[in-house]
Symmetry: C2
Subunit: 192 residues, 2 copies
Amino acid sequence: MARSVEFNEEAAIQKAMEVFREKGYNGASLRDLTEAMQINSSSLYNTIGDKQELFIRAAKHYIDMRKRELDERAAADKPALEILKQYIADSVTNIVSETHGCMAVKMAFEMATSDKRVINVLKKDSQNQYEFVRKHIALAMEQGQLDNEESPELLADYFISTWTGWNESYILHKDVDKIERMARYFIRQLSK
Amino acid sequence: MARSVEFNEEAAIQKAMEVFREKGYNGASLRDLTEAMQINSSSLYNTIGDKQELFIRAAKHYIDMRKRELDERAAADKPALEILKQYIADSVTNIVSETHGCMAVKMAFEMATSDKRVINVLKKDSQNQYEFVRKHIALAMEQGQLDNEESPELLADYFISTWTGWNESYILHKDVDKIERMARYFIRQLSK
DNA sequence: CCAATTTTAAAACAAACGTTTCAGAATAAC
DNA sequence: GTTATTCTGAAACGTTTGTTTTAAAATTGG
């Protein structure tokens, strides 16, 4: 038998994800990546594969994190509308704290226009978010906390597409108030 | 005196813009660009400058186009609400026809997180869109076609941030109906 | 402790990158 | 038509890119 892998693969992928998020796929060089991951390129190619494969792994790692967050939210013992409002509030917090924008969105615009595998990873994430929101909107309607004039399906689609624009706005204007005003308006409209 | 520049600079920049839109900044090589522009790199460096400069010029060209479109819309002899609805309808058409997503959005997520000059170009564009929308919302309110419960400023911010998310949705799902449903919902909400 | 096997670090790889050079073609003013 | 100047095309520049090779260090089971 022989020695086993020395580095922590998940920690390395986490580091790679951060580099990709900061610089994008094309902007991140193998040297940037291996330096952050603290491994040699030979180890990378032995255990994970090439740059594309590493990116896919980083992307999957990212959406797995997001899925786990959703599951935790869903497990909370609160009215559905409260869970949704918390989800919105946390989305705002994410937007105004991440210096480089949401990674899923960055990936969508840099990579998903050309790479089928990236599209599929992001579609999975989009479905996760959609299903979470749709379910809680339906629940809130059943609980009489939300008007059921519109379908939960439409509202869920509309819901999850909304953050993306706020993200862009914050990248350009760095105006926290602006984002919070839009969020309050969004919630106001929802309850109408 | 000596000979004058042979190639059409604006046409060349237009071509460069298309390449940048398709491949992004880092994804577009100088060879891609000069081939599309049909000029030699020496001519490029003589007349325009390096890759960064070319990108800024392409970005400015793009937002100039968009500004001209807004001015044409504003000149139309129609009620303000009609102009806004047309603006929304055309945004939807743009989203579902552009294969590579809106260039302003792509730039925002790939470049604006790190490049100040790009931020400034995009802020200008954002202000143009904002001012157009704000003005017509205010007009529509004066004309009694729109509820004036919310401020035109807030609504305008919300307005222009909305398309971005629809763009991402379309990149992932390629679902025209989904976008159109969201657009109809958006208009419904606006008139409430 | 040995033998088998795998991981690692460092160097090397060709290809592609953005940019510059340079000689010759082209043009405008006289 | 000559001259002065500038533009153009092709080749070359040194770096950096993603990836592979190589040989030594490391670890495990017997």
